[in-house]
Amino acid sequence: MKRAWLVGAGFVVVTLTLPFVLDDTRLSIYVLMGLAVLAVTGISLLMGYAGQVSLGQAAFYAVGAYTAAIPAVHGWPPLVGLVAAPLVAAAAAALLGAVLLRLRGHYLAFATLALQLIILSVAAEIEFFGGAIGLQGIPQFGVGSVTLDDAQEYALLTWAAVAVVLLLTANIVASRPGRALRALARSEQAAAASGIPVTRYKVTVFALSAAFAGLAGGIYAFFLGYIAPGSFTIAMSVEWVVMAVFGGLGTRWGPVVGTVAVTLVVQVLNDLSTRPGAPSYAPTVLGYAAYAVLLIGVLLFMPAGVVPWLRGRWDRLRRSRGDGGSAPSQAPDWPEPATVTGR
């Protein structure tokens, strides 16, 4: 319990200090990274705890982005859009979820993927949304007379949102609804027999994960100032799933670790491959091959993801030092809830 607080406080201090340290280029990466963490946290909640797969999460990112951008483009205060972004995304997810969540497993994965394709095609046809060309000239985010006009401020906003979302998620997971989600992920029948309204919970968590993505999309729209259907690809949805698995599903820090690791790897490889003097095949070899080899290598040796692996290491280390041997033998995939009291 205490350790969790310490780690959390450390996280907040580090992430909110970084904007004052990084240069502009890195700050932009840092912002996008934070936005991805938001979305991946939602996916991790959905997949890792509730056992539902979404391969179309970028659709809700898009919903959030458009929700934030459209009022702003028409002269409304940006705050309205940003507040509405997660709400509208959640509402859309709840509506769709009520129908789609009858599907399970691969069916659901496919349905969400199809859904994203459909939503984006429709968006590309709607003139009001800027069509395929997208919405340009989205004003900067601001509240009252304060406007956010550089990456540093967006970084602070984004990572503050990350901290809040992680805290909310950790709290949910650690108590009644979180337990219910984990239970229904294992057996919907047994969960229902224990009094858990399975469908309602599934829809709620779907909406919640969409809200996280929607919030991220809202910030994205203001940060970039331009959105188009082409900005929200299936590749993005898939990459988020990859990040979630990479970090370790159903762990508190998995989304952060997975997203940061994958983003950094991609950016570093991108940098290396376009260095002057790099051969012309470098982008493909580094951008594809090195990325692939890293991904494969890590998952072969840490099949449950990075965070569970690190935890296992940590436990073993502690044990070998002789303190605290009471932890269950096989490292559980699940975080200890914040309320667990030691025996």
Binding site: S175, R176, P177, I196, P328, V340
Partner: protein, 313 residues
């Protein structure tokens, strides 16, 4: 007095084959009803129909006089129906105590929002649920396994964890589907003690078991199913003497010619029988107390009684 559970002409078939056929029965408050019958007789299906996990093709289910036939499972759970499934059905990945806390779902009210902000109610309820769960684990003798991932518990413990989960829901009707399967000697006795204790508290239960001795000892009345239909109902002794039951389920008393291993005595609960079924809760408690006395301080869950195995040892 309205019975806690009343089934009227309940039927359910799978692909044309009747699993439950036209079953009517009533379980009055405080009764422990045994349910026996051959494999595939429809016992588990009947439980699923009562718990709302399956929908009947025909017939009605009423809980304390209210019809619940079309009520989904989670609403029935909220009305006090709890079930211990056949086999090990813990939620893997959750620790034992978390498994049990899931059972208390309906006794708390906070939802996603409350949990997200850790509202005062959320914290209070979480504390209460945890205490209740630990108490339930204590009751089934699993207290020291509370923080172990449930799926790594041995079979016997998993079954007890399931019982604790059901108890944590503070049910009004408890459905037990072969709770003693895979439990041996002392565990079985301890379980009998727990069930007996629940009887003493006036809980209404339905109990499926193939160990007829076990059922006879604990059930007030026994219903026998065969091919989905009720073929007999009565006190344990009446039922055991019923020729239809003997033919369909128990088999004729020992027929040593059948094999070298004296299978007659091997058949659980056959002629060997157990001590006479205690007719009343008080008897159960007395047996429990006696067991505890004999246990030589073997721990918290030492409640036991003259088990058949022990008797034969």
């Amino acid at each position: 007095m309205t019975p806690v559970l009343r089934l009227d002409n309940l039927s359910r078939s799978f692909g044309g084959v009747f699993a439950v056929r036209d079953v009517s029965l009533a379980v009055p408050s405080g009764e422990t009803r045994g349910l026996i019958g051959p494999n595939g007789a429809g016992k588990s299906t009947l439980f699923n129909l009562v718990a709302g996990l399956l929908r009947p093709d025909a017939g009605r289910v009423a809980l304390e006089g209210d019809e619940v036939t079309r009520l989904p499972a989670h609403r029935r759970a909220a009305q006090g129906v709890a079930i211990v499934f056949q086999g090990a059905r813990v939620f893997p990945g959750l620790t034992a105590v978390e498994n049990v806390m899931v059972g208390a779902h309906t006794s708390a009210r906070h939802g996603f929002l409350g949990a997200a902000i850790r509202s005062r109610r959320c914290r209070r309820e979480e504390r209460e649920i945890r205490e209740a769960a630990l108490a339930a684990l204590e009751r089934v003798g699993l207290a020291e396994w509370a923080d172990v991932p449930a799926e790594s518990l041995p079979l016997g413990q998993q079954r007890r964890a399931q019982l604790a989960r059901a108890l944590c829901a503070r049910p009004r009707l408890l459905l037990l589907d072969e709770p003693a399967a895979g439990l041996r000697g002392a565990e079985r006795a301890a379980l009998a003690g727990v069930i007996d204790g629940l009887r003493g508290e006036g809980l209404t239960m339905m109990l499926v078991e193939h160990d007829v001795g076990f059922v006879s000892r604990l059930a007030d009345r026994v219903t026998v199913l065969d091919l989905g239909a009720v073929i007999a109902e009565g006190t344990p002794d009446e039922v055991r003497r019923d020729p239809a039951v003997v033919a369909a389920y128990l088999g004729a008393p020992a027929d040593p010619a059948a094999g070298s291993a004296a299978p007659g005595s091997a058949a659980p609960g056959s002629a060997a029988g157990g001590p006479a079924a205690p007719g009343a809760a008080a008897g159960g408690r007395a047996a429990q107390a006696a067991g505890a006395a004999a246990a030589d301080g073997a721990g918290a869950d030492s409640a036991r009684e003259g088990d058949r195995d022990a008797g034969s040892a």
